[in-house]
Amino acid sequence: AQTVTQSQPEMSVQEAETVTLSCTYDTSENNYYLFWYKQPPSRQMILVIRQEAYKQQNATENRFSVNFQKAAKSFSLKISDSQLGDTAMYFCAFMLLNSGYALNFGKGTSLLVTP
């Protein structure tokens, strides 16, 4: 079974600063995707960024980027120029390809952006 670990239950960052959220995972498979999802108080999970395991280049989406270290099974999220609207729960998730595309989620990191 695949496991996803987020070791930071809570984090705080000042507006305009940069913050990095950690995620490690455990799998013996080679073909998978990794995701970061954001869940604001509205409860709706929103995709932040996705990384295909076969790609060496780290994914970026505007202020969001990842540091994907496949050998170390590490997948951290960096948020640059943090904004108040970034306050939310952030979940790291793993998807094994060709197995139904079910997501395995970590327990989440609560991020608070302060003025």
Partner: protein
Amino acid sequence: GAGVSQTPSNKVTEKGKYVELRCDPISGHTALYWYRQSLGQGPEFLIYFQGTGAADDSGLPNDRFFAVRPEGSVSTLKIQRTERGDSAVYLCASSHHRTGELFFGEGSRLTVL
């Protein structure tokens, strides 16, 4: 609608009662998922549909939980003889099979008294 729609948004019931939660996926999405999210936890996979059939129901906790998707679109999650431990937010997601990107609804919060 443009997104995944879930009803009811909130449901309060008594222990032992039967509950149905509905999910209306994004039009054209063939894959549909149910997840359960307990307080302070990440979502846990329950069941996955590809079309009308349940392709993977390994996450259903016991036989009190059942889900259907009779026409390959709307899905209903059914919980019999509810228990207090069933209290959680039940999330539905849909995807186009090829992309693998899941789009989530806002969830149904179930409270069993």
